[in-house]
Amino acid sequence: MIRVAVGSFESPTLDYALIAPMLVVFGAALVGVLVEAFVPRRVRGPVQPALGLGALVASFAVLVWVTAPEAGATAAEATVAMDKTSVFLQGTVLLLSFVAMLLFAERGVDPSGDAFAPSAASIPGSEGERELVAVGARQTEIWPLAMFSVAGMMLFPAANDLLTMFVALEVLSLPLYLMVGLARRRRLLSQEAAIKYFLLGSFSSAFFLFGSALLFGFAGSIRLGAIHDALGTQVGLDPLLLLGTGMVAVGLLFKVGAVPFHAWVPDVYQGSPTAVTAFMAASTKVAAFGAILRVFYVALGDYSWDWRPMMWVVVVLTLVVGAVLAITQTDIKRMLAYSAVAHTGFLLVGVLAVSAEGISSTMFYLLAYGTTTIAAFALVTLVRSGSGEASHLSQWAGLGKRSPLVAGLFAYYLLALAGIPLTSGFTAKFSVFSAAVAADATPLVIVGVIASAIAAFFYVRVIVLMFFADPAPDGPTVAIPSGMTVSAISIVTVLSVILGLFPQPFIDLAEQAGVFLR
């Protein structure tokens, strides 16, 4: 924290080497705003993607070559903990965001340009909107928004005190609320999703902030390490601790979409432009789980006897509700959304282990799940009918005959989501389950296995539909994407295959990173 003495001002030590990756992305976001303000519209089209993607690559490079060797210290007056866990999670966020941003830059799939409304503020179907479409106006504000969001996601899991964490939460969330409402097609659905996400999201942020205040009341500090220390020394303030833990948990569990805070997930996943859904599903989850791990391990690790029962209930509900409701879905994006809820449950199983294994297995799961889910949504963008994406399941019937490649890849990713051996999903599930069993959470693993079985059913059902059903006569077409989507899908596919067949190097990385700085 900044110390201000009477009559003097001591400038804070920032440890630039440690926070440089975040600064690069924040910088790109600010430059992006300037580009929006001063660069002509025609030029913005190519400039913004180049800036954004370039910044992500640069940030990743800085993270690997500058920050990683220095990792293991706090930075910026102990507000940011740059341990190896942070490095791993930030790297994962950057990687997944880069792939998702490639999808943002896709211009070959939708006949009228990219997937975003030219002007989000114009009323759907209005004269103004038609004009913008006619002149081929292009949405470029999404790039600085996305950059801010990525920067927030990098800070979120690295935050070392609750206030920094709250700021990161807002920095990552606010742009997301806007991005959700930017869909070019089905704009009302998109705007509804944005409003819903915003209302529920700000509500949960308030919970988080209130909880932080209560924890401050308990420990006399917002530092996670200080809360940990206070657990051993403070007596008589249990109500504050209990309420604070619960409320902070609400805020965090909302972000990952755990039941009963999952109501927004299907609507927002469905309404958002699919590229944004991919970004949200992968990167946000990584960041939010990073924050959950940090709060519950660093600050409240010794308090696990009290919060574990609550989490058990949440995990069981999340697994069951996610898997069961996914069966009833008829829209592919909603199905993937409920599957995301179920996967939140699997990830929480890893969190509940409260052990080094728990951290590393959760992080490995995040990487594996992130790549898979981005790929799945990327493929969804390609299957189109006249009015945009053909997201109704019945339209996917017989896709295997129309486009064996897209259907085959989608089938592979569904199997990976289902956790079939030799895919990344299996290794990931195996590691969280074995961590949980080692921590005596066997009943949870049994629920998890049952949920996997239910989930396998609806994933396989889609595969059956694609390969065994006869194609509908007016079925969807498969768009031929530009190099952007192709490279996005290629990157995640290579990664996913490696994670499935030869996961050892990544497991090693996650294990080395599985120790928090306190």
Partner: protein
């Protein structure tokens, strides 16, 4: 040549062949078939050469061992090796493949929706999975092969099957996946036990044999393993998928499915359930044996009532699997060896039955018994083959089935006298269901149904002749098989009887019991 990676080559060669066959361009279907046949024949040659190098009396439990670290973190390795039991079953499977390829030469020609290449590629892919499942000495590798094996069968039935293929394929998959998930849960449990006892988790079979698992855990793990294998085998009451799948698949598919795939279930009981969970095996044996005996009699009775020949053969197999399970759970050397020989014999005789019936069905377009009559007058070779296959199925002395059946009965009488006596009823019933079918199809006056039916063509003779030769060879001179299998059976017994166990019934003198013959 001892360093030659026999098993890896056997496992990978069909996989490579499968890819090559799938890559054959349209219009060159004949080439695809020829490649598939050549690959499968090379496999036979390899397996013969390998078997000649096998030393039955070797002190090592496994021969042709290869081991490479795969996923170090979970103690997963790529480890293969065979003992006598695995070698015999593996050889049986490899020998059957060229035979089914020859028999199914024209199976895929009628299907327009799917390529002929796919059919043969799937058959070869299945062969690869089968080799790995028998050769794996790492339980994870075994599990992967066990699950991967499902996929080719699923597609073989779903793409190329007859009426109701979709229903049968899905039923097959769901039953198998359910079993597979329980196996997975038990496997994770076993892994956790290994973590606790050895400090480091492992899936290595030999290392796991050394564990000392407490009885209640054993029972749970045993239940998981056993259920998966009982579904696969299949045992009553989880057998209902088999008749549907066998009736819907092509004869070649059904042969591999019933003749080889289902053996993985009984092989798993023998190789994994008994040695890994000795206490639980003794504990569960009464129930298992009861189910086996119920299966023997019940399935035989149901078989008598079948009007469809494929379904009839499927039910005879369920009955025969009862015998195999009875032999496995007899806990005597002759019972175990007999069960193994019975598996081989059943593979050969079921292949003969399915394939000969397949020839009939292909000529007539119906698999109902009532669609035939007096085949002997028009097609004496087919009728003769059917008779021969039937006699082998009912275990006529001098044929392979007899050796297995008599050994199982001799081996199980000391342990389970009542069960063995009831099982003899199954032999009587087997004469009924086979002979009634043969009589209705072949004998009597020539009917309108079969007028002008062509007799076996040379290709079909090449299918039937090797099977007959093998059936007779095993029936008349089974000594080499027993020599190969007995040491392996002894090892299994050693592991099972490592715990103190006194049977409720004092062991009788096996020599006093003559074999009942049909």
């Amino acid at each position: 040549m001892t360093d030659f990676p026999w098993l890896t080559v056997l496992g990978v060669l069909p996989l490579v062949g499968s890819v090559v066959v799938a890559a054959v361009p349209n219009g060159r279907e004949l080439l695809a078939k020829q490649i598939a046949l050549v690959v499968s024949l090379v496999m036979v040659a390899l397996v013969v050469v390998m078997s000649l190098q096998f030393e039955p009396d070797s002190a090592d439990a496994f021969q042709f061992v290869e081991s490479h670290v795969w996923i170090e973190r979970f103690g997963i390795s790529y480890s293969v090796g065979v003992d006598g039991i695995a070698l015999v079953l593996l050889a049986m499977a490899v020998v059957l493949v060229p035979i089914v390829i020859t028999s199914g030469w024209n199976d895929a020609d009628d299907t327009t929706a799917h390529r002929v290449q796919t059919y043969f590629a799937l058959l070869l892919a299945l062969e690869s999975a089968i080799v790995f499942v028998f050769a794996a000495t790492d339980l994870f590798l075994f599990y992967v092969a066990f699950e991967v094996m499902l996929l080719p069968v699923y597609f073989l039935i779903g793409f190329f099957g007859g009426l109701q293929r979709s229903y049968a394929a899905v039923k097959f998959l769901l039953y198998s996946l359910l079993g597979g998930l329980l196996l997975l849960a038990a496997l994770i449990g076993l892994y956790v036990v290994s973590v606790r006892q050895l400090g480091e988790g492992t899936f290595d079979y030999t290392a796991l044999l050394g564990l000392d698992i407490d009885p209640s855990t054993q029972k749970m793990l045993f239940a998981g393993f056993f259920f998966a294998f009982a579904v696969k085998a299949p045992m009553v009451p989880v057998h209902t998928w088999l008749p549907d799948a066998a009736a819907a698949g092509t004869p070649a598919t059904s042969t591999l499915m019933v003749g080889v795939l289902d053996k993985v279930g009984t092989f798993g009981m023998l190789r994994l359930c008994l040695p890994l969970f000795p206490d639980a095996s003794h504990w569960a044996a009464p129930v298992v044996v009861t189910l086996a005996v119920v299966g023997i009699v019940y399935a035989a009775l149901v078989a008598i009532g079948q009007t469809d020949m494929y379904r009839l053969i499927a039910y005879t197999s369920v009955s025969h699997f009862g015998f195999i399970v009875l032999g496995v759970f007899a806990f005597t050397q002759i019972g175990l060896s007999g069960a193994t020989i019975y598996m081989v014999a059943h593979g050969l005789s079921t292949a003969a039955l399915f394939l000969v019936v397949g020839f009939l069905v292909r000529r007539r377009g119906s698999s109902l018994v009532s669609a035939f009559g007096g085949v002997q007058r028009v097609a004496p070779l087919i009728a003769g083959s059917l008779m021969f296959a039937g006699l082998s199925g009912l275990a006529l002395p001098g044929m392979a089935g007899f050796v297995g059946e008599i050994s199982v009965l001799i081996g199980s009488y000391p342990t389970w006298p009542v069960a063995a006596v009831i099982a003899v009823i199954g032999i009587v019933l087997s004469a009924l269901y086979i002979l009634i079918m043969v009589q209705r199809v072949s004998h009597g006056p020539e009917t309108e149904n079969v007028r002008g039916m062509a007799d076996l063509v040379p290709r079909e003779v090449w299918v039937v002749a090797p099977l007959m030769a093998l059936i007779l060879a095993v029936g008349v001179y089974p000594k080499p098989l027993f020599d190969a299998v007995n040491p392996a059976s002894d090892r299994v017994l050693e592991a099972v009887d490592a715990v103190p166990f006194t049977p409720d019934v004092p062991p009788a003198d096996p020599a006093a019991e003559g074999g009942e013959t049909p």
